[in-house]
Amino acid sequence: MATAEKTTALEDDRPYRRRGHLSRAFSRLIRKKIAAVCMVILGLVYFGGVFAPWVAPHDYRNQDLSAIRKPPNVVTDQGITGFWSKSHFAGTDLKGRDMFTRVLYGVQNTVILTLVSMLTGGLVIGVTLGLVSGYFGGKIDAAIMRVGEVFASFPDILLVIILAATLRERVRGWVIWLEENTFLDGLLTLGVTDYLVVSLALVSFGWIGMARLVRGQILYLKEALHVEAARAIGASTPRMLFVHLLPNAISPIVVTVSMSMGSMVGVEIILSWLGIGIQPPRPSLGTMLYEGASISALRNFPWLLLAPGAAAWVMVLSWNLLGDALNDVLNPRTR
């Protein structure tokens, strides 16, 4: 295809084509102060969470029986190592464990779970179903959208709660089967069951919104001239989907991902708050918030709520504000 090569070469010569849509959007994004701050905060929180074992000053299981239910304190007279390893930046809990460390590990669970669920549920399943639904239309479209409607009709997050509550035993069975029949060992003790249960529950509600959004975009884009032209010269289906349709729908997808990450973080915390998410002794923000919310804890040890509450709030808030800024940058029509 000599002509195709020629056109790309020509396009590359034009200076304004050198940078892609997303890269130009990104440079507009970091010029927004709030967005930049949110990205830095999310970066820090996610780094701290993912690398919790290296970042955390204590072990999340270690009990310091001489410092039970101590308010936050900072050791300043023992140099930098004493400052890091002796201080309890967020106080200690009822068992004498460092709250700052436990919050970091709790963030780790939330971060991994929400990222995995977003990638699989929102991006892979949601975008694929939306593409298929919008492009092929007809019976496939009707089937996918009707199934989505059933999932979306459950009041609030009741389906997620029911799923997480009923799936656990079955998933546990699968994990035990895996351990017995493959070379994989120690899955149960690693907490794989919890991870699978929560991800499955989150995925169940994460795909619908994305599928609907992508479908709407595709239906709209299908009428565009460049798509008609591509169809006229006989472009194959994958080429139509991945070269002509999907890249043009990328802006709303990016905005939706950022917006729904916030709610996904919220749902994950609700699940462990209800006791059907990450199980103790693994720390989770939900469990910590539950323990800190009793009246006696609020009255006597309010810092038990402060650290996990602040972490949860900062995560949800940063995703929401970032989504808002992205919306301004990527969908200029609504500005």
Partner: protein, 312 residues
Amino acid sequence: MWKYIARRVLWLPVLLLAVSFVTFALGHYGPGDPVAVMMGARYDPDSAATKNLRRELGLDRPFHVQYVDYVSHFVRGDFGSSLSLHRGQPVRELIIKKMWVSAQLAFAAMLISLAGGLPLGFFIAHRQGRWHDPTTVTITLVLMSVPVMVSVPAMTWLMCLKLSWVSCSGWGGLFDLRIIVPAITMGVPGIAGLTRLMRASTLDVMGQDFIRTAQAKGLGALTIDSRHVLRNAIIPIITVLAFSLAGLIGGAFITETLMGIPGVGRLAVDAIFARDFPIIMAITLIGASAFVLANLLADLAYAVVDPRIRYS
């Protein structure tokens, strides 16, 4: 138009049947045996008492028989009776009582959202492009982002422990001071969405020709705002209100559990842990019906108040 309505109405029972099937299957094939929960320590899978109880409850029949039986009773308004949570009590009466509580709470929360969101949105639409606009949007987002599990204890700490204005938990109806904390924590997040919606809709109306005509006629700003802008800008809000109607019935899982409010949300959470399937089924189905009906009503209300909208 009528064809569209008929299609939507005919689809409703199918949708609800699917929802009921999913819930029923999850309850049936999921772990947790209601008979075991009911018998507690005396549970022995092979004893005659266990078998009798199972037969009495009809839980020994095959899945499809149980399901068809449940649906046929549900359609006739018989939701069965509670298995373990409120043993023997008819689910219908139980849920109606709890729903009344949740509805009052949701109503109070909706009032707060409306009282905050509508004026704010209307105001910043008139200040488009100035600092009021992005600042207000950001502040409402900041408030919206506080998770309920954080905002409820934080508000309790402030209102009950620090200021001693209200007692910390419990329920006394719409005109009891204890409704303040749950109503605020449920209502404030709604302000963000309503502010945006009201802003967008006001801006839309302000750009219309008839507003320019009104200005050209020399009408005062106040008259234009109250007579022409506000009236038309409020129309899209109806859709949101319809959706909140569905929320009136669904209850709030976290807030009700934390504040000790005897509403549907708390009942649902308790029922899930007690494997009280009749209650779970009834709450899911009633909530889903309310949601799809509200959806339909919103679409229709939209077409009625705005004759430009036509469904086909």
